[in-house]
């Protein structure tokens, strides 16, 4: 843990010299609390149940610094175009190393009722957004129990602020790109808020990507509130590689009659830990959570899902699929909790894994905790190899073995990809995933 202490000190020094240390008093207080909480807890370790399968050596073996302000200054639009699955037309907020890039972002024609800007701009704004930030920031994510959230809260510089007012329906998806670029080991900690007021609807595409060979650690936190009868469709594309370590916390609250759909596509990183935490906080709320995680080499992909039915008549669907090749390792831990009184809950959870090599490994732990009696809950997990009979069938029709394998591997992923809308986004994802298996 020596390296970690150093990292904290380095961060503290960097923070005190940065613009992030400005800001309202309430935020200073919050940051100080968070730093205390982080110092108290330290980084998680494998002796803790929630981190049993995910050692953090790729984090602890070096000291992390925040990237210098000019890192990524030479990035051109063309460099980011290929990272945007729905292209340059849709509005986008671009963050380079956790800092807002006005130059690379575009608001498009701002839809009515939409506040769509950087969190720091929201904090500094004279309008109502500053109050909204104060009302929500760190009100959903926990700093006491989550060390990484505490670290992010203490030191974040910026992130996306998306607030859609009551009753508005966005026709176009909005994009948020978190790009990490550095010439030496760098840490970024984006912090975002996504708030949908009553009856509003939006589609959000969040992209995590990196450029270059230097180690990149991204510790992001995103707090999401889906208001009464609101509807948020959230797609997260993690387009990273072996230089990246990704720790993500998505913390969502869904109010009465609201619906939240989240799909995470993780194309692999040295280490990815995705925490999805979702509370169905009002009657009849719905959550559809899913993800596809693809590992190769010695990559490690960990999906931790916590889904809580706090109120009656909620529906939740979870489908997570992992494809692990070579010596990669996957973890799925999914807990569904049904609180007392959350009657007529309908919850399903499914995790399927495909192991493409004898050295690949998956640890899967689906769990149900039910404290109500009138509920319908199911869960299950499977792990296996490609179906040899299907492989033989395709070859017996003339397909090369490689092609047959790639077709069947893609087929394993197809259900998650096919559910994606709009079509342009689905096709872009299909291409990315297909390319992985060619």
């Amino acid at each position: 843990m020596v390296a970690t202490e150093t990292t904290t000190d380095v961060l503290l020094a960097a923070f005190e010299n940065s613009k992030a240390s400005a800001g309202p008093t309430w935020l200073h207080v919050l940051r100080a609390q968070a730093l205390d909480a982080y110092r108290e807890a330290g980084l998680p370790n494998i002796r803790q149940e929630e981190w049993r399968y995910t050692p953090l050596t790729s984090i602890t073996r070096q000291t992390w610094r925040v990237a210098p302000p000019d890192a990524g200054a030479t990035l051109r639009l063309i460099d980011i175009a290929r990272l945007l699955p729905v292209g340059m037309e849709a509005p986008r907020l671009v963050f380079v190393n956790g800092r807002f890039s006005t130059r690379l972002s575009t608001q498009g024609r701002l839809a009515a009722g939409l506040h769509y800007l950087s969190l720091r701009d929201a904090l500094e704004s004279k309008g109502p957004s500053a109050k909204v930030v104060q009302a929500h920031l760190a009100r959903h994510a926990e700093i006491e129990s989550e060390a990484f959230t505490a670290l992010n809260t203490a030191f974040f510089e910026d992130g996306a602020f998306i607030h859609l007012e009551r009753g508005h329906d966005l026709s176009q998806p909005i994009q948020v790109l978190h790009l990490n670029v550095a010439s030496e080991a760098a840490l970024s900690q984006p912090r975002s808020l996504v708030l949908l007021d009553e009856g509003s609807r939006a589609k959000l595409i969040e992209i995590h990507a990196g450029i270059g060979n230097a180690p990149r650690l991204q510790n992001s936190v995103c707090e999401i509130v889906v208001g009464e009868r609101a509807n948020l469709s959230h797609l997260l594309l993690q387009h990273e590689d072996d230089a990246a370590v990704q720790i993500n916390m998505h913390r969502a609250r869904v109010d009465k009659g609201g619906a939240y759909a989240s799909r995470v596509f993780s194309l692999g990183a040295a280490l990815t830990r995705n925490n999805a935490h979702c509370v169905l906080n009002g009657e009849g709320a719905e959550a559809t959570l899913g993800g596809l995680f693809l590992g190769r080499g010695t990559q490690h992909l960990d999906n931790h899902v916590y889904l809580e039915h706090a109120k009656p008549l909620g529906t939740s669907r979870q489908l997570y699929r992992g494809v692990l090749d070579e010596k990669s390792r996957g973890v799925f831990s999914g807990k569904v909790v049904v609180r007392p009184g959350a009657q007529k809950t309908d919850a399903q959870q499914q995790n399927n894994n495909l192991l493409l090599s004898d050295d690949a490994q998956i640890d899967t732990k689906p769990q149900l905790e039910i404290y109500a009696d009138d509920v319908k809950c199911s869960h299950g997990a499977t792990s296996g190899k490609l179906n040899e009979e299907a492989l033989f069938f395709l070859r017996s029709r003339g397909l090369a073995e490689r092609e047959a394998r790639s077709l069947l591997t893609y087929a394993f992923c197809a259900e998650l990809i096919e559910a994606v809308k709009p079509e342009t986004l689905r096709d872009a994802l299909a291409k990315l995933v297909q390319a992985r298996f060619e």
Binding site: F392, R395, S396, F412, E415
Partner: protein
């Protein structure tokens, strides 16, 4: 004598260490249709799968030559591209892989192997629709994943559709008739007959003489305990239908005491 299309000599095949075929020999010339009948578990599907190149079936001795070449040395996909086709007894469902996509990829692999250009999507769909009609397969089914949610009969017709698209030189049909209603049986038989030519050969595995009313064979063989123990003309099928396999067992026992468990 011309080179036979398929020539199997003294073939021994094991699955997981157990020998299933105990020295099987069979010769099929271009232009011929051979029917293979035999009791359950006698090794009919084993024969068709080993010819198609299934890795679970190990050839321990003997040979199989196709168009004069060593068939057993070829990968399954090369056998297919060289014109060998197996219609499976139990067609698999393959979720996530569309019929149309896979079949076009297969056809283009064949064409590439023959040095022909790829068939474009529009032309392919046109041909596919026409052949689907021929075997009475609803084109809407073809956008679905392979055999997913297909009825038993639809699966069998889909096998024949694939055969019509790939136009093999040697067709191996493993109980394509089982599970078909009488109309479907005629449709399937018609599909097979439409491919019959003096360049092509077929090996048709069946339990029922009825199929052979529609696909009239040149020869009928009885596969029994891993060997072909009797061969004849199409009348043999009628005799089997009437008398079952008991008399063959008795004949064998009489000719070769101790070799067959009665």
């Amino acid at each position: 004598m011309p080179t036979p299309l398929l020539e199997i000599k003294d073939l021994h095949v094991s699955v997981e260490g157990t020998e299933i075929l105990h020295g099987l020999s069979l010769s099929v010339n271009a232009g011929e249709v051979h029917a293979i009948m035999g009791p359950n578990g006698s090794g009919k599907s084993t024969l068709t799968k080993v010819l198609a190149g299934h890795e679970a079936y190990q050839v321990t001795s003997g040979s199989a030559r196709y168009k004069g070449k060593d068939l057993l040395a070829l990968e399954p996909e090369i056998r297919a591209r060289e014109g060998l086709f197996l219609a499976f007894q139990y067609p698999l469902e393959i979720p996530g892989v569309s019929n149309t996509y896979f079949l076009r990829a297969a056809l283009n692999a064949h064409r590439k192997h023959r040095g022909q250009p790829e068939m474009d999507a529009a032309k392919f769909l046109e041909v596919l629709k026409e052949k689907a009609k021929q075997v009475d397969v609803d084109p809407a089914l073809l956008n679905r994943p392979i055999n997913e949610g297909f009825s038993g009969g639809e699966k069998k017709r889909n096998e024949i559709l694939q055969m019509l698209m790939l136009e093999p030189t040697l067709g191996l049909l493993d109980e394509t008739d089982s599970g078909l209603d009488i109309d479907a049986l005629k449709i399937v038989a018609h599909g097979v007959n439409s491919l019959r030519s003096k360049e092509r050969g077929f090996v048709v595995v069946t339990h029922y003489q009825r199929l052979l009313d529609y696909i009239v064979p040149d020869y009928v063989h009885v596969l029994f305990q891993g060997r072909i123990v009797k061969s004849g003309k199409k009348e043999l099928a009628l005799e089997l239908e009437k008398k079952g396999y008991g008399w063959i067992e008795e004949e064998l026992a009489a000719a070769n005491p101790g070799s067959v468990k009665v």
